[in-house]
Symmetry: C2
Subunit: 341 residues, 2 copies
Amino acid sequence: MAQNTAPTLEDVALRTGVSTATISRCLNSPDRVSEKTRVRILEAVKELGYTPNFNAKALAAKRTNTVGAVIPTMSNAIFALGLQAFQETLTENGITLLVASSSFEREAEATQIRALVAKGADALLLIGDERDQETYDFLQSREIPYVISWNYRAHKNHTFVGFNNRKAAYLIAKQVLNLGHKKIGMISGVLSNNDRAFDRVQGVKDAMAEFSMIDSDFICQEASYNFDDAGHALDTILESNIKPTAIICGNDVLAIGAITRAKALGLNIPDDISITGFDDIEISSIFTPPITTVSVPHTTMGRKAAETLLEMMHSDDRNLSLELETSIINRGSLSAPRNGR
Amino acid sequence: MAQNTAPTLEDVALRTGVSTATISRCLNSPDRVSEKTRVRILEAVKELGYTPNFNAKALAAKRTNTVGAVIPTMSNAIFALGLQAFQETLTENGITLLVASSSFEREAEATQIRALVAKGADALLLIGDERDQETYDFLQSREIPYVISWNYRAHKNHTFVGFNNRKAAYLIAKQVLNLGHKKIGMISGVLSNNDRAFDRVQGVKDAMAEFSMIDSDFICQEASYNFDDAGHALDTILESNIKPTAIICGNDVLAIGAITRAKALGLNIPDDISITGFDDIEISSIFTPPITTVSVPHTTMGRKAAETLLEMMHSDDRNLSLELETSIINRGSLSAPRNGR
DNA sequence: TATCATTATGTAAGCGCTTGCATTCTTATA
DNA sequence: TATAAGAATGCAAGCGCTTACATAATGATA
């Protein structure tokens, strides 16, 4: 029974006695075909187990109803959530999402972008705006609309749908400083090829400048996205001669790692040291202590990014940037400096 | 400068004065073309910014060097890890991974499988073996090799590369029973369309049978993959008249949710109640209390699944099933029953 | 230098679909 | 019943590539 080769439009045509053109129409815009033939065609399609060949379709039609997304990594809850909403919104509109990951590497990202375009992606979702001009030129020459998400920057070159990392970091840092902390430590995510992480550091620096703080009041350590690395970063910070009373972390995973390490060192949080996070992942609210962090509208962002992209695919309006708001969630890990420190 | 249409092989041909066939060869098997022309061609390719059209390529070559994977959900660290390894192994072999998600829905999964095949996936990675025969028939008629992962079942119909969920659950349940627990609660993941969750429940039942325990010694509640739901499941279990002294959870997220709820109820773990997990996600070791759980070889599984698939794409040996081992990680959340209960 | 095996390139026929244009049916209208 | 408008269908030309097969160029050998 098994026919080792997929049935084609032609096979369906032969079996129904109509032309391939009619079948194509029947499948793509059913109302352009008479009911009688439609029924007959659909029957044959089912019997043969016919599935349209996507590649042939894309080649002939010059569009794919496919949108591509290049994200830094799949194994990060942060992207998963936003992407989920992005995907759902696309699906509702009959569009398929193709996801590729860049491992935070510039070169790999450029390659993936080209690969997605080669596969016929009609539009793209990109994370952050930090990439070679060459890549942007390529996108422009191919007339591929794209939305930049997970960050918002105040310039008009691109369409952003995201939140302002710099501003959000500035706000939480300001809160820390308002509580009276004079020496600040920061554990940042890896900065290379990551404008979100970079902007979060900048935001903290903005707040420090506002409080007239100087370099020797601040120490910043990079750590990769896992608990252990954050712990080591905390060690380094504590060993320095800055002696910060508060540690601002670039994300919640780093905050959890830092808190865990601090607890292991016998430090009480927030009495001995305050630690803040960023992202508000699910675990942050039930961790001990619960983490004061920045809540980010992932779902909204994903949905809005999709909607914006959809709009760009139809009109070619490029002034659709959208800045989303973040908010600070106060839980237990931040307080005024205590214990005489 | 921007040409709104992508350059084609023909454009490169025109510019270099050789035929499209030579260019195709130059790009796909460089050594079949003389050095002189190769250099000239690559130059033109670069100047024009030529990128091969993937769809045309797939159509003409009847293969895509693409492997598809249909996973239940993207937003689950468990799949992310294995998939990462799977992807890396494929990439090393020049193969691209296409991921689709089914949201744990049978119908959606069947659709995604067809879509992936329609896109030309040369082979497939599937999670668990629970799907309609129709889908398997389809795969067979199209001669698409596939590997079933994240579970291992002892029958020969399919190629499995995974661990035996039933056996692993049996082993941890046995350990719980050996400690002297007489009444057992279980918080399982949602069972519908999830053979892994199902087998974990079966494994626990296997152990209970071995200890001659009866229905009234056991209560099982389903909960979806989040902390709150697990907490509610725990409430239900505690309100029942079984009064278990140990709760076996179908995965670590449920265990964390249950522990959090238990702590909120003023229960001490493991003194008042023991709670075990499954999967050994990163947070489990640093949570309070650290969670006794089952360690699963995600990375190895992903890599082996890829290697197996690669082999199936070359030979058509179908007896490549591979059972991977799990191990129990003893941390603080499980002890013998105490406090007089 | 003639001969033959290699190597390099060209020719052209598809791959399975969509779609503009042409043709044939229907059906309503006069 | 003749006629025109509109609906349904068919024809056939691609879409951008790969790949038999054919041909031309290059060397090695005698």
